[in-house]
């Protein structure tokens, strides 16, 4: 059982000269896997370190399990943390690294042994128990760091970019290992990353942060389908969502105009878009929502445009097409039947229902 609750938490450094978190309110449910994402320097680590008790809270309250922990030292918060740099004790063997916290708790030796071996078995590091960290590979060190957190059986697991030092293949492997660890341990996980793929694949809910402010806190699906603003829309999804300047007109029905093309306003967004008649908005289309001319044939409410390919990237089953529209470069990802080369003119289409609309000034989603 462990819920985490931030209420109006402010964090500043250097006696208030630098405010990193202006106001944070957040509720994390028990046994939830929450991922904090955001660009570098947005305050993810700071938030995590406040939960750990490694950073003081300037003002506001932090509760773990409905108990205010502002002034409770890290060791009494019943949390465990995995650091980006692993932070293993270099002078201790893997076994001692994992046993350290338990030894400090004065747990009986045989019980410590049982726990360490249990964790080592799950993480597949049994053969290395007598080695020092320097004799391990990056992935093995990472697992030791996880093991050190596991043996303590904490209420909350905090992980700060634990996979960012691993190569791509290992990262994918460890990702699923951490996910299954979460299912097995049934504790609350708070996981920091700047990799949106990690966030999307692992999280129950994702906190998207920018400049210390929560942009949206929701499930991966909702973040992807209904981003609250342009920041979230651009941050979630890869390649990034295309943003195209557009305007709303009423002319034989509500229409969106952009770069000489037009689409009808989708039914469910109509009433919100009516407020923007005659105004500029931003149209957002995910690269993967573009259709090739073939696919678009049978669709209605589709907008088809002809663009000149600047660069074409084959990525196996799909092709990324870079093209220019309205003075900006955009990406479309389509299933191409035949090879597309740079310089080719291609027909691209998208359904009006897959388009996103944003207020140009507030950057908020319309509808």
């Amino acid at each position: 059982m462990a819920t985490i609750k931030f209420t109006d938490v402010v964090k500043s450094f250097d006696n208030g000269k630098v405010t990193v978190i202006p106001n944070l309110s957040l509720e994390i449910a028990d046994k939830e896997f929450v991922v904090l994402v955001g660009p570098s320097g947005c305050g993810k680590s700071t938030t995590l370190r406040m939960i750990a008790g490694l950073e003081d809270i300037t003002s506001g309250e932090l509760y773990i399990d409905d108990k205010k922990v502002n002034d409770i030292p890290p060791k009494d918060r019943d949390i465990a943390m995995v650091f980006q740099s692993y932070a293993l004790y270099p002078h201790m063997t893997v076994y001692k690294n994992m046993a350290f916290a338990l030894k400090l708790k004065k747990m009986p030796k045989d019980e410590i042994d049982k726990k360490v071996r249990w964790a080592a078995k799950i993480l597949d590091i049994e053969p290395y128990l007598d080695r020092k960290p320097r004799a391990l590979s990056g992935g093995q060190r990472q697992r030791v760091a996880l093991g050190r957190a596991m043996v303590r059986n904490p209420k909350v697991f905090l992980l700060d970019e634990p996979l960012s030092n691993l190569d791509a293949k290992l990262r994918t492997e460890m990702r699923s290992q951490i996910t299954s660890l979460h299912q097995r341990l049934q504790t609350t996980f708070v996981y920091v990353t700047h990799d949106q793929t990690e966030a999307m694949t692992m999280a129950d809910r994702i906190v998207v942060m920018d400049k210390g402010v929560i942009q949206q806190f929701d499930t991966p699906q909702i973040l992807y389908n209904e981003p609250a603003n342009m920041f979230v829309a651009g941050f979630i999804g890869s390649p990034q969502m295309n943003f195209i300047d557009a305007s709303v007109v009423k002319d034989n029905g509500l229409k969106i105009l952009f770069s000489g093309y037009e689409i009808p306003a989708p039914k469910e967004k109509k009433e919100y878009l009516e407020d923007y008649i005659g105004k500029d908005i931003v149209l957002g289309i995910r690269p993967e929502h573009f259709l090739s001319a073939e696919e678009a044939k049978s669709e209605k409410d589709c907008c088809t445009m002809t663009v000149k390919t600047e660069i074409a990237e084959m990525t196996g089953s799909e092709t990324n097409i870079y093209f220019e529209l309205g003075g900006k470069r955009h990406i479309a990802r389509i299933k191409a039947e035949k090879k597309i080369c740079s310089g080719d003119c291609v027909k691209l289409a998208f359904r009006s229902t897959s388009a996103h609309f944003f207020d140009k000034d507030t950057k908020m989603s319309i509808g």
Binding site: G53, A87, L136, R148
Partner: protein
């Protein structure tokens, strides 16, 4: 190409051997003469002891029993051991505090330590001696305090340089694992500092063991005199004939402990103990 390189190598090695021979010659000569009988020491100091010139361990027995050698040896050992222990323990803690608690005060303290390092001993020697007597530090315990003071500058400097390279996360992990600051220091930080601690210990031990001026000024040549002072007294003291053989033996006995200490510690100086703690 290859032969040219090996020729260069040969030259370099010859040069290095020659230099080493020059530096080691005095020690070698002392060793030689420590097992020669008195007459031959002054007659032919450079000859290899053989036959009648060979005196066995007689000189050592004489040297050991003469002029309270054992007392001086124990004085030196006591002062060196506790000064070095004190320096290593206290300066590593100081350096940890200075590095981890950043602020104006710690910065000032740090620069004071560095400054103390560049002030030559001769400059403060008389005032220091005066105050040592005033404060009653002119005894074996008092001089330990003085040595800790003199050793602190360089040691704090060396320790803080190394501590800066230890990732802070290791200590934070210890905090989360349940360490108080004291436990963090002794269970995590100090073991990581071990190579530096040993380097600091060797440097200070060599200096304190061999130091002549400070113990001469503070302790004098009385009962609490140290080994270098005792040797010096044996060399100049008394009229008539000096027992050169015994003196040579004393010198050998004075050098041996520090060499043993050095050889013993050397194997613990492993580079990069932090390697493997972080991503690396």
């Amino acid at each position: 190409m290859k032969s040219k390189r090996s020729a260069v190598n040969f030259l370099i090695y010859t040069l290095l051997f020659a230099l080493a021979a020059v530096f080691l010659a005095p020690i070698f000569i002392i060793l030689l003469n420590s097992v020669k009988s008195n007459f031959y020491i002054s007659d032919s100091p450079f000859s290899i002891p053989s036959g009648e010139s060979f005196a066995g361990i007689q000189n050592f027995i004489k040297g050991f029993t003469q002029s309270d050698f054992l007392q001086a040896f124990l004085n030196s050992a006591f002062i060196t051991v506790f000064s070095v222990g004190g320096i290593v323990l206290l300066t590593s803690m100081t350096a940890w505090y200075i590095v981890r608690v950043s602020g104006r005060l710690t910065k000032i303290i740090y620069y004071l330590f560095v400054f103390s390092m560049i002030v030559p001993f001769q400059m403060v020697m008389y005032t220091m001696t005066y105050y040592a007597f005033e404060l009653g530090l002119n005894n074996r315990l008092g001089i330990i305090l003085i040595y800790i003071g003199f050793g602190a500058g360089l040691s704090v400097f060396m320790f803080s340089g190394f501590i800066k390279s230890i990732p802070k996360e290791i200590e934070e992990a210890a905090t989360i694992d349940g360490c108080s600051p004291i436990k963090t220091f002794f269970l995590v930080v100090f073991p990581i500092l071990k190579p530096t601690a040993i380097t600091v210990a060797i440097l200070n031990a060599m200096w304190i063991w061999n130091d002549y001026l400070l113990p001469y000024l503070v302790l004098g040549s009385g009962k609490s005199r140290t080994l270098p002072v005792a040797v010096q007294m044996a060399l100049t003291g008394g009229y008539g004939n000096k027992d050169m053989g015994a003196l040579m033996a004393m010198l050998v006995l004075a050098i041996v402990p520090i060499i043993i200490f050095y050889l013993f510690c050397q194997k613990y100086i492993i580079k990069g103990v932090v390697a493997g703690a972080v991503k690396g």
